[in-house]
């Protein structure tokens, strides 16, 4: 190294040439992803073991591998396995969709459950359950269609010489408030049985999950997930602001459209299967960003965090308290301390949200 130029002093501060830094980043990212995956597998196995009857790991693994274990085959294979798989799949969807929105709209508070998509799906599902007396697939179809329709309406309404993220968020909040009041109006008129069914759905719950609910979610994840991951680099650039992004050669409107459609699709399928599990989409992104640091795209890590959150929250909801809470209540209550944490952290670091 010769005369200390500006460049060399920069690379000295980041302790090493660019290649080393990049390798360190890749290593950090790999570690985080591996650790999260391991945790998911562990909690997944625990979920399968614990219940009214406890089954040792050997039995559980045997059931997963398709062996016939007396007793365990039914309880684990038929009851607990679909539930756990749905928890993972829905969690992945929520996490991925949430972080896509947060990255695209450049705001950690702008998740699909805040800006009206969940409210639309909820209102439609309540309508389907209470007024049309549908169940299962019918409700899912309604919820998915409504989620897509609402996001389209929000998008169109916020169009005024192009769509800006700010306007999109605020209009989403307005639409959500209207839809929520529609939901409560329908609920107020519901018969007792319908009411219970609708409430179970609205709080977000994995009770009674079977393969019929789980398979569509996995299919949606397999179809849409890769598209979003492929677009992750463009999304990251969108974070710099619309003008900068288009100057860097990103087709802003198109990226936003693809990302919105993909994320809405994911969230709609997940909601159709489980109901809106509150705050998973909201929390996964920030948590993942915190663990990962500035080491590449947060999409995969936050999908994993989402899956982990749903698994753990469902486990806690079933066994940690005197009452069995649906998973949505547990994650929803987590939202409040997270907001407090946000205050404490920002005021200490003095940074922007």
């Amino acid at each position: 190294m010769t005369a200390p130029t500006a460049e060399s002093s920069v690379s000295a501060r980041t302790s090493g040439p660019v290649g080393v830094v990049r390798r360190r980043r890749v290593r950090r990212r790999r570690t985080v992803i591996t650790a999260l995956t391991t945790l998911i597998v562990l909690v997944f196995l625990v979920t399968l073991m614990v219940g009214r009857t406890f089954y040792p790991p050997g039995d559980v693994v045997g059931v997963i591998l398709g062996q016939d274990v007396p007793g365990a085959s039914f309880t684990v294979g038929r009851l607990r396995l679909p539930r756990a798989v749905l928890a993972v799949a829905a969690g992945l969807c929520f996490g991925l969709a949430g972080v896509t929105f947060q990255t695209m709209l450049r705001n950690p508070l702008a998740s699909p459950d805040i800006i009206g998509i969940s409210s639309g799906a909820s209102a439609a599902a309540t309508f389907a359950i209470v007024v049309l007396s549908l169940d299962g697939t019918g409700v899912s179809v309604f919820a998915i269609a409504a989620g897509l329709a609402v996001s389209l309406i929000v998008y169109v309404l916020s169009f005024k010489r192009g769509v800006t993220g700010t306007r999109l968020i605020l209009i989403g909040i307005g639409i959500a408030a209207m839809l929520d009041s529609v939901t409560s109006y329908i609920l107020d008129r519901a018969a007792q049985w319908d009411l219970q069914e609708a409430m179970r759905w609205l709080t977000g719950s994995l009770n009674g999950a079977g393969w019929d609910e789980t398979v569509p979610v996995i299919a949606a994840l397999a179809a849409i997930g890769p598209v979003l991951l492929y677009k992750s680099r463009d999304l990251a650039v969108l974070r710099l602001g619309d003008e900068t992004a288009s100057a860097l050669g990103i087709r802003v409107d198109r990226t936003r459209l693809v990302a919105t459609t993909g994320a809405v699709g994911l969230i709609a399928f997940a909601i159709a299967a489980t109901g809106p599990i509150a705050f998973v989409a909201f929390l996964s992104g920030p948590i993942a960003a915190r663990i990962l640091g500035p080491n590449g795209s947060p999409l995969v890590p936050s999908a994993l965090v989402g899956a982990l959150l749903v698994l753990i929250a469902d486990l806690c909801g079933q066994f940690a308290f005197g009452t069995r809470y649906p998973v949505g209540v547990v994650t929803g209550v987590l939202g409040a301390p997270y907001l407090v944490y946000l205050i404490v952290r920002t005021s200490r670091a003095g940074t922007s949200l």
Binding site: T166, R167, I171, Y325
Partner: protein
């Protein structure tokens, strides 16, 4: 200056004779209010003769018709009071936060009051209306401070976008907490759930008398801080330069707003958007001077809420739609309209 809640006064003529224009609007508004109140007493799922209405108003309750009218009187009174309180509360919140989107519903303050009341019912055996009021005001106060602090984090302070997002996120967390409180208690679930939809259907004179002192106090505080709010609209620095104690004014005015919406929520349940819509419309009529805006908002809010209640009774005959739902369906589009009108930079 950041986003001001102050669209320009329309109409040059009105600006030249502001007092005359305002007096005229005052008369119009009082007339409308009277008509709506009369409609609220006469219209409902049961058709009533005018003679029966007059008889019921003088205290008689013979036969079904007069009894129905007698039930509608406290209901109308509560709708008028709640509308006035919510609208003034919204106008003050918009002034204090200098934010055109502030509203007790959007900021999650109503939801905070709801959670406080639900916990009171579930854990402390709360039953009397007076108990509700204190708990609801406490819940509303805590929530408004919480939302305001979250909304003003980071660069740029409390922008409309951040406040609205913070309010929506807090509402969602509070709603889950309400489910967590209520779910294990099947016995109270029905009561809490029906209370969660804002309505004035169950009004009684006793309930109204119990919140009346709170509403009067809140209204007095709000009206007294009108001049201070005018100065706050100029920006904190200028207001301080003109000798206003900015922090004191802001706290006092916000306290008045919280008491108003907390007490109202305690009797009616959460009703959104009245506090958003009314001050905006009134600003178009009388300008941005809070000394005029607050009384006008009170009248306008009373008119809007009562009209929404009447509408809910007409649309869904023979049943009725709770007024909280009607106001959300009217107010939602209005909210979107305001958002679309603002410049992006101001959000």
């Amino acid at each position: 200056m950041t986003a001001t809640a102050a669209p320009p006064v329309p109409g040059a003529a009105r600006r030249r004779h502001p007092a005359r224009g305002r007096s005229l609007w005052l008369l119009v508004l009082l007339g409308v209010l009277g008509a709506i109140a009369a409609a609220s007493v006469t219209v409902g799922s049961r058709e009533v003769e005018w003679s029966d209405v007059l008889a019921a108003l003088t205290g008689s309750a013979e036969g079904f018709d007069q009894a129905a009218v007698a039930k509608r009187i406290p209901r109308t009174l509560l709708a008028l009071l709640a509308g006035a309180a919510l609208a003034v509360s919204g106008a003050v919140m918009q002034g204090v936060t200098r934010n055109p989107l502030a509203d007790p519903g959007i900021l999650g303050v109503n939801m905070g009051a709801s959670l406080a009341v639900a916990s009171g019912i579930a854990y402390f055996g709360l039953a009397s209306a007076t108990g509700f009021v204190w708990v609801a005001i406490a819940g509303a106060g805590a929530t408004s401070v919480f939302v305001y602090v979250i909304g003003s984090l980071g660069r740029g302070g409390a922008s409309p976008l951040k406040l609205a997002l913070a309010g929506a996120a807090t509402s969602a967390a509070l709603a889950s907490s309400i489910s967590a409180v209520v779910l294990p208690r099947g016995d109270i679930a029905e009561g809490v759930r029906s209370w969660q939809i804002g309505g004035v259907g169950g009004a009684t004179f006793d309930g109204i008398t119990q919140v009346l002192p709170f509403l009067a106090a809140g209204l007095a505080v709000a009206l007294l801080s009108a001049r201070g709010l005018n100065l706050l609209a100029l920006g904190d620095d200028l207001a301080a330069g003109l000798g206003e104690r900015v922090a004191v004014t802001r706290t006092t005015a916000a306290f008045g707003a919280v008491v108003l919406c907390g007490a109202t929520t305690a009797v009616t349940g959460p009703i959104g958007f009245v506090g958003l819509v009314v001050p905006h419309v009134c600003r178009l009529l009388v300008g941005v001077d809070h000394r005029w805006l607050l009384p006008f908002s009170a009248l306008g809010g009373a008119a809007l809420l009562t009209a929404a209640d009447v509408m809910g009774r007409i649309v869904a005959r023979p049943g009725e739609i709770d007024v909280g739902i009607v106001t959300a369906l009217i107010g939602g589009p209005f909210f979107i309209y305001i958002v679309r009108r603002q410049k992006v930079r101001d959000l």
